[in-house]
Symmetry: C2
Subunit: 193 residues, 2 copies
DNA sequence: CCTACCGATCGGTAGG
DNA sequence: CCTACCGATCGGTAGG
């Protein structure tokens, strides 16, 4: 990891805990053991760090989603794969994913507009998967917009509680989410009747 | 609405769009048509506004949850009621709920610690409801912590997309969430077999 | 990567 | 609710 990557990693860690706006270049410099002015030998601006992390994460999420959708199988299986990919991206980039989710609005034009578009596209991907499953009879749902948003919000929430040293692995987390969203909470009463 | 309430409402609106740290008292003053120094005739500090909105919202959520749980009925019905109450609080306090969700970490001690506790308690309330339903055979779930967090994250996400002029009413949104989390996406195959 | 520094802005106070 | 102002801090540049 070269000095530029060190700066970015440290910045992401601070942005995560304090927020982008509340993190000063002097605090960042102190965490790195250097002067604030020296950081500018490696990066152009504070926002450049945020831009890089946001677009990298967005790219990771899209790559994961495309992998999931392009696999052969039922729509149910594709959705399960998309959930697993999304969980993987978050758990493997925990600090960066948190910063992406909570700080992207501090981007300036034109990056802000691009980010909004990318997020709308990603959500649309899930929504279309849901509609495909609805059309072919695999799924039953009332509102694809609401359902896609509910699923994505709960998946993104993982970044707020996932603990790499906890008892749940990313794979187990993904399996639990798939179970929850596909089967729901209500216990099957068939075997009892 | 007196001047103090006007200041708070305007601040909440700015905190929502720009974030707490990125909103200056001068910007707030300009939105109100007054000087920054004059605001301090009505409030003690910038953070005081954030404190007030966070604790008010937390109180609203707890009140709603207690209402839901104290109603007679099955655990399923109580969970449906808790979802409906949560949706109501968000949709009736859209800006304030968004600020609460995204800016509470900018509170200073001891308010920050209190807020963390309150959120843990609220989540525990949902988790215990889920476990009660699991114990009495209404629900089937693998991990109550994960399930409560998934449900709450998706409910909180409503604040990011709810449109008071949109086609979905808060009641409809709550019904869709209950349907999604209780029944899941998979279409019942019973009638086809 | 440092020293020295820029103009701008920050939350907030004094005094009226 | 205003004018006048405080010390502190901001992101960033110049020059080495």
């Amino acid at each position: 990891m070269n000095r530029k990557e060190q700066i970015e990693q440290t910045a992401i860690s601070l942005f995560r805990t304090q927020g982008f706006a509340a993190t000063s270049m002097r605090t960042l410099a102190q965490s790195l053991g250097m002067e604030a002015a020296s950081i500018y030998a490696h990066i152009r601006s504070k926002e450049e760090i945020l831009q890089k992390v946001c677009f990298r994460l967005a790219d990771d999420f899209f790559t994961g989603f495309k992998n999931a959708v392009n696999k052969p199988g039922t729509v149910t299986e594709k959705l399960q794969a998309a959930i697993a990919e999304h969980v993987q991206v978050i758990t493997e980039n925990l600090a960066a994913a948190t910063v992406f989710q909570t700080e992207w609005r501090h981007l300036s034009d034109p990056y802000l507009g691009q980010m909004i578009q990318l997020q709308a596209q990603y959500e649309a991907g899930f929504r279309e998967l849901l509609i495909t499953g609805q059309t072919n009879g695999e799924f039953e749902l009332t509102d694809a917009h609401l359902t896609a948003r509910a699923l994505l919000a709960s998946l993104n929430g993982i970044a707020r509680w996932y603990n790499p040293e906890g008892k749940l692995t990313p794979t187990e987390i993904a399996a639990n989410f798939s179970q929850l969203f596909l089967r729901g909470l209500i216990k099957d009463q068939i075997s009892n009747s």
